[in-house]
């Protein structure tokens, strides 16, 4: 009964994103990377001083990174949006969980309190200081079925997960991937970067796989906006993402399913 309720929530979340319900991907030894271009549609995000929009830059970088990941690494890439449409946070997380992703990378280009330069940052999920299991627990029917209905096999043991705890078991690997991404981006875009930080990021909390949020930098800074308009810069950033995934795969080869 609870499982049915959970699937209903999942399905309604996906419908709210105006996307067809994705089928679980076939069970094969190809890793699945989910890229999430932040914002979209009427959700413009940050607007740069000369008009560059966050929603456009996140989509462009995600598509460039997706192509490289497929071509260079042979991985399968799923984007949470491929056009100028918005999706709620829970719909993005639900899509990633439904396709059984191995890695989730959300991309944003945040603003800053002053119109000053702020280089890229990587975030992983870290809960608030006094969160107890009871506080983390859902207050209503927001649960979802993971193992049993996903591509992880019809024979798998049924296991219900609390929606708010989806990220909990991936905390270490998310941090590890965040550091790999930080290292590779520094090399590729020749910036120091601001660092790797743990914050209670809601989208990451709901994702059931190693997950990070990449903030490419402050779009509100005129100099950085100009950089983001440069295709070569975005291509180097995309290569940094692909190389980080390559390093991660070397440490975490995909287990047969």
């Amino acid at each position: 009964m609870v499982m049915v309720a959970g699937l209903t929530v999942l399905a309604s979340s996906l419908r709210s994103a105006a996307q067809p319900l994705p089928s679980p991907l076939p069970d094969e030894a190809v890793p699945v990377v989910v890229l999430d271009p932040g914002r979209g549609g009427s959700n413009l995000g940050v607007r740069g001083p000369t008009g560059l929009l966050e929603k456009d830059i996140t989509l462009q970088l995600a598509m460039q990174a997706g192509r490289l990941i497929e071509e260079l690494l042979g991985a399968r890439v799923v984007l949470t949006r491929t056009d100028d449409s918005d999706a709620a946070l829970d719909a993005r997380a639900a899509l990633a969980n439904q396709v059984g992703g191995d890695l989730f990378i959300s991309i944003c280009a945040g603003g800053s309190l002053a119109a000053t330069r702020r280089e890229f940052q990587i975030f992983y999920f870290d809960g608030l200081p006094d969160e107890t299991p009871a506080q983390r627990a859902p207050t209503n029917e927001r649960e979802f079925a993971g193992e049993a209905e996903g591509r992880r096999g019809a024979g798998a043991k049924s296991q219900l997960l609390l929606w708010d705890q989806a990220q909990a078991e991936f905390s270490d690997t998310s941090q590890m991937f965040a550091r790999l991404l930080y290292k590779n981006l520094r090399t590729q875009v020749a910036e120091e970067g601001r660092g790797v930080f743990g914050l209670p990021i809601l989208l990451l909390r709901w994702v059931r796989m190693p997950a990070v949020l990449l903030d490419v930098g402050s779009l509100s800074d005129p100099g950085f906006e100009a950089k983001l308009r440069d295709d070569a810069y975005l291509q180097r950033a995309a290569l940094g993402i692909a190389q980080a995934i390559n390093d991660y795969q070397a440490l975490h080869p995909r287990a047969p399913r």
């Binding site: 932040g38 914002r39 959700n43 995000g45 940050v46 966050e54 946070l89 944003c108 280009a109 945040g110 603003g111 800053s112 309190l113 002053a114 000053t116 702020r118 940052q121 975030f123 608030l128 200081p129 006094d130 506080q135 601001r194 930080f197 914050l199 209670p200 990021i201 809601l202 989208l203 909390r205 949020l213 903030d215 402050s218 509100s220």
Partner: protein, 200 residues
């Protein structure tokens, strides 16, 4: 007999000397007390850089510690505000937040837009403050996870520095619980004020 008279004379001299010391002590205490009163009881307006202690009430009001973002956006920094005496934690929380909204004066960065208003404020007996902001808190926010963190932590740190009784803060916008301030950080439930302590 002559020896006995000499002893009495020495004893009388010693008693006179003791009374002199006592009188001198009393005068010293009185003078110190008068000076202390005249100089406005130095020491009562003590403050602390970490915001953990609040200055005491004085006849000229009290001092609040308001926390903004540093110019490099890498920490929270405090500014002092002298305000008239505030009788209750509720009033102190409200005045502190109004000072936060009024903005910094010494080169720090504003974390909350001047357009934001406090619609309601309520503190329950468990030490949780419910603060209902106007939607400007979300709509005028510059965006991004880092800026969101600075805004939330400046609110928490300002409250905990001036109202140490508070344990948690639930942020509401236009009377409703919201998932995030501007798309990133989970604020569906009350935030522990410990999260707002400046790490620098």
């Amino acid at each position: 007999m002559r020896g006995s008279r000499r002893v009495r004379q020495v004893r009388a001299k010693a008693q006179a000397s003791a009374w002199g010391w006592v009188l001198a002590g009393i005068v010293l205490v009185l003078v110190t007390g008068v000076l202390w009163w005249l100089l406005g009881a130095p020491g009562l307006s003590r403050t602390s850089i970490d915001g953990a202690e609040r200055s005491g009430n004085t006849t000229s009001g009290e001092e609040l510690s308001i926390w903004f973002a540093s110019p490099q956006e890498d920490a929270l920094v405090s500014e002092r505000r002298r305000v008239p005496p505030i009788p209750t934690p509720f009033e102190r929380a409200k005045v502190s937040l109004q000072e936060l909204i009024a903005g910094p004066t010494s080169g720090a960065l504003r974390t909350v837009s001047a357009e934001v208003k406090i619609r309601e404020l309520f503190i329950d007996d468990q030490g949780t403050a419910y603060i209902d902001f106007t939607e400007a808190l979300s709509q005028t926010h510059p965006g991004g996870p880092w800026a969101e963190m600075l805004t939330l932590r400046s609110i928490l740190q300002t409250l905990v520095a001036n109202v140490p009784e508070l344990k948690r803060v639930q942020i509401l916008i236009e009377g409703r619980e919201v998932e995030t301030l501007a798309g990133y950080l989970d604020i569906r439930r009350p935030l522990n004020t410990a999260w707002g302590v400046n790490q620098r």
